[in-house]
């Protein structure tokens, strides 16, 4: 289970190969554009489909959260960076929108289990992020948010170039 610690940020990622470092506007179409770039970068590095899926699913949720919540009543930029680390990819999302409520990542159960609703229409995002990541951590730095997500390389990724 992923841990909610700051170790993801303290990790020395200076050695990691930088895959992507972009800034986008805080809207859903810009998120689509960012995801397209992420997929392209991973395909260029011969990442297998299941790894690309993993990264895209997690980042879609994390970036959409920033648009919907951090920038719910304002707009700004979102910085997304991806770095190869040992047996994984470190994703960092930074924005200068509102802080997370209570300064921490929300409850991450499936909405069906949390609320007992059979047909929930929302609340899946954090569950997807947490259940698919090795580690997720959040920091509020004065006026900005930083979310770090470490994704494990899938089995099929380990024998490819992308695993450093």
């Amino acid at each position: 289970m992923p841990s909610d610690t700051n170790s993801a940020q303290n990790r020395n990622v200076g050695k990691g190969l930088a895959l992507l470092d972009i800034s986008i506007a805080s809207d859903f179409l810009a998120v689509r554009g960012a995801l397209r770039q992420v997929v392209t970068v991973l395909q260029n590095r011969s990442a297998p489909e299941d790894m690309i899926d993993l990264v895209q699913i997690v980042l879609a949720e994390a970036l959409n959260n920033v648009v919907e919540h951090a920038y719910c009543d304002c707009s700004g930029t979102i910085r997304l960076s991806l770095t190869c680390i040992e047996n994984g990819i470190l994703c960092r999302i930074e924005d200068c929108g509102h802080p997370m409520p209570e300064g921490r990542i929300p409850e991450c159960q499936l909405p069906q289990e949390r609320e007992g609703i059979e047909l929930p229409e929302g609340g899946f995002g954090w569950y997807l992020i947490r259940s698919l990541s090795r580690e997720v951590s959040y920091t509020r730095m004065r006026f900005c948010n930083a979310l770090s997500i470490i994704l494990d390389c899938t089995q099929s990724t380990k024998s490819t170039r992308i695993a450093s």
């Binding site: 899926d53 499936l110 229409e121 899946f124």
Partner: protein, 111 residues
């Protein structure tokens, strides 16, 4: 948000002619489907074979459409591509729908 309808008697097939059902289009998708499903039909099959990506907003919109149909009508899904299938499975929402690998064209009973 392009949705193409193909009524076949008691079965309405709606094909999503979009690559992505995500946060950018979830509301339009719901609104268009709300109009489309006003046509009475016992079963509605949503053909997602063109959709290569669906996020939790898209998933929520599909669930909302199921609820729009009410208790007497069924929403079925067809042609889930791998990434879309993954999101349904990971959230355990795949068990909530009848899922066909392909649209059962010309058939008027459940596959």
């Amino acid at each position: 948000m392009q949705l193409i309808t193909d009524p076949q008697g008691d079965l309405l097939i709606v094909r999503a002619a979009e690559d992505r059902i995500d946060a950018a289009v979830a509301i339009q998708f719901k609104d268009r489907m709300r109009e489309i499903v006003q046509e009475p039909s016992q079963r509605v099959i949503l053909d997602l074979s063109q959709v290569v990506f669906l996020d939790s907003s898209g998933l929520g919109a599909v669930v909302a459409v199921m609820k729009l149909l009410g208790p007497d009508r069924k929403l079925e899904l067809a042609g889930l591509t791998p990434t879309v299938e993954k999101v349904f499975r990971l959230t355990r929402m795949d068990s909530v729908f009848t899922i066909h690998s392909k649209v059962p064209v010309g058939q008027r009973h459940a596959v």
